[in-house]
Symmetry: D3
Subunit: 136 residues, 6 copies
């Protein structure tokens, strides 16, 4: 009998989309104004969803205080008020699209959870565009 | 060919989280300010999602008026403006966490639906924390 | 390793719910005020969700500009500011319930996508009622 | 010492924008697709805001149950699931723009309130367009 | 040249509405299920709006970090996860309606601000009901 | 008899807060992580509110298509997907705080409107922080 618990968080960051193996022209065609060399930015809204059995002593799947602390250490401290391309080493070689940021966050949080818990990450890049990843 | 139809509802309630087999000290450590003996409360926002085949005569999976009535009788009448610990007998022995309230709601609504329909309950305890349960 | 990307869109339309094989009386009982012969209307909010592998050159599952264009051509141009019963031939014989509009949208968008991509449509008829369809 | 209390409500309706003193061509230029002769529609979201002194016995500016009843009788019963052009006599000669519907609602609710209370109406025609009117 | 800056915050609390000078019967008539002697509760969403001139050195009307700290000390620490009737001395003799809580918050925050700054408090008791107070 | 009509819009941008007349240390104390020299960013959500008399021929205060076009030319084309500090000349010497961006937007839109219309700009820097300016 499994329940999914979700917690919202957020961070603000600058980024730029481009592929450094491509010409400037091809980057402009593919990424358009997302390829502004001076960067643009977003308020990223995050939903971290954890699925597992309820602990019958507490009535919790996971203590929300613990989950909040993991999100702070693994996501907010690493990404909030950062330039993703310049300040986060994982995005030196990987394009910081919403898809890739979502996988980055999944990979940071998953090892911090009890292995019996499943994880899904939902990341809003804007109120109109969002992505979801659950590890496979 | 199955479609999921969802309806939002809401109720307000007071509650307190604690395990009556534990010491006051242990309860404070685990539940923190959620263990205020004078209670605190929430606006619970509820999404009831029903999955099944479309009736070709009506174009409906389920008549929303019927679903609205079931939600009123099984959830709002039982939980709205209540103290979950004191006014709802199921929570005398079960901690009224979001997880357990979500299962309570599932168990109340499921028997009222056509057995061919699947049910999922999403319950927001706050705009930032929510849980989901679909019966297994 | 699959990621789901979603984009929100919207359209406004008038409609009326009824079954032309039924008597006026039966239609009134089943569809109530949704059967106003002069029509009523909604702001439909749409979420188009596409699941697939990330293209390692772009970091995209699908280019959002392309998805936006498909939504414009297949949904907004066909349904926005329309009377669904009178202006859209598919709804001459099918009741324009949220369920049926959701399937209509799925069937319009799916053939425009790479066959390796999965599609899910979420359609809000009101902020309180919504439906979801993913093709089976 | 005045406080403003607000309550949200909603209704769905069909409408068409046009000026019957103008040619079809001029109507098309000015109102574009809002002039579809078969109508389109909206979910109108309404905020009714009442300003006045607090009653020291109740702690209320106005009893929300009373305000809810006034909104039901004066707005929902008159406009919900209606065709504004065909079913509401006030809009036979007045174009049912958001501005004019907002004034209509103000004029219906104001006489039902204690004359010492001020009234402001906010009407969302879509989540992106809204209007406000407070009687002068 | 004045600008208004606003910050959102939130707290959860239990309360009960009643007038201790009235009979049980009159309280039931006036306050209905809000008068449950076992309490009910809400997620209160708060908007604190401060109006003043922009400091030309910083470009700020007020440092948001400072405003956030004042809200934490004066509102969240005093009201979050509390029973308003039992845990907050001001509401021993005043009914904790949204109107009165809004004035309470105004009176706590105003003295902590530079006297040249104007203050307005908006308090959502539910997503559908909210109140506003600006000191006069 | 005046009505206010509002339209929402949005843009994404990178920025950095600092005062170039101050030391690095003072900038860090005052602006904290908002002073990241590599920039961070936001999804700015904008509400443009125009107040005036209703044109009795159209039922409009202002044609929303016209207002949408002004917002595109004066705000989106100038600020969307830009680095405010590097790409917008007005912010070379003025700190791009939400307050100053709000005034910038007011000053761009006001001259494009009929002088009889009043203007108010609301700018959300995050879903939790927003500012408002109406010209005085």
């Amino acid at each position: 009998m499994k329940v999914t618990v979700s917690r919202k968080a957020h961070f603000n960051a600058a980024h730029r989309l481009f592929n450094n193996k491509w010409s400037q022209k091809k980057n402009d065609i593919v990424f358009g104004k997302c390829n502004n060399p001076n960067f643009h930015g977003h308020n990223y809204e995050l939903i971290v969803s954890v699925t597992g059995k309820i602990n019958t002593d507490t009535g919790y799947v996971i203590d929300m205080i613990l989950l909040k602390r993991i999100i702070k250490q693994e996501v907010e401290d690493k990404l909030d008020h950062k330039n993703l391309n310049l300040d986060v080493k994982e995005f030196e070689s990987i394009n910081p699209t919403a898809e890739n940021i979502c996988i980055f966050i999944y990979n940071k949080i998953k090892p911090k959870l009890d292995p019996n818990l499943d994880l899904e990450i939902t990341l809003y890049e804007t109120p109109r565009n969002f992505v979801k990843y659950s590890g496979s």
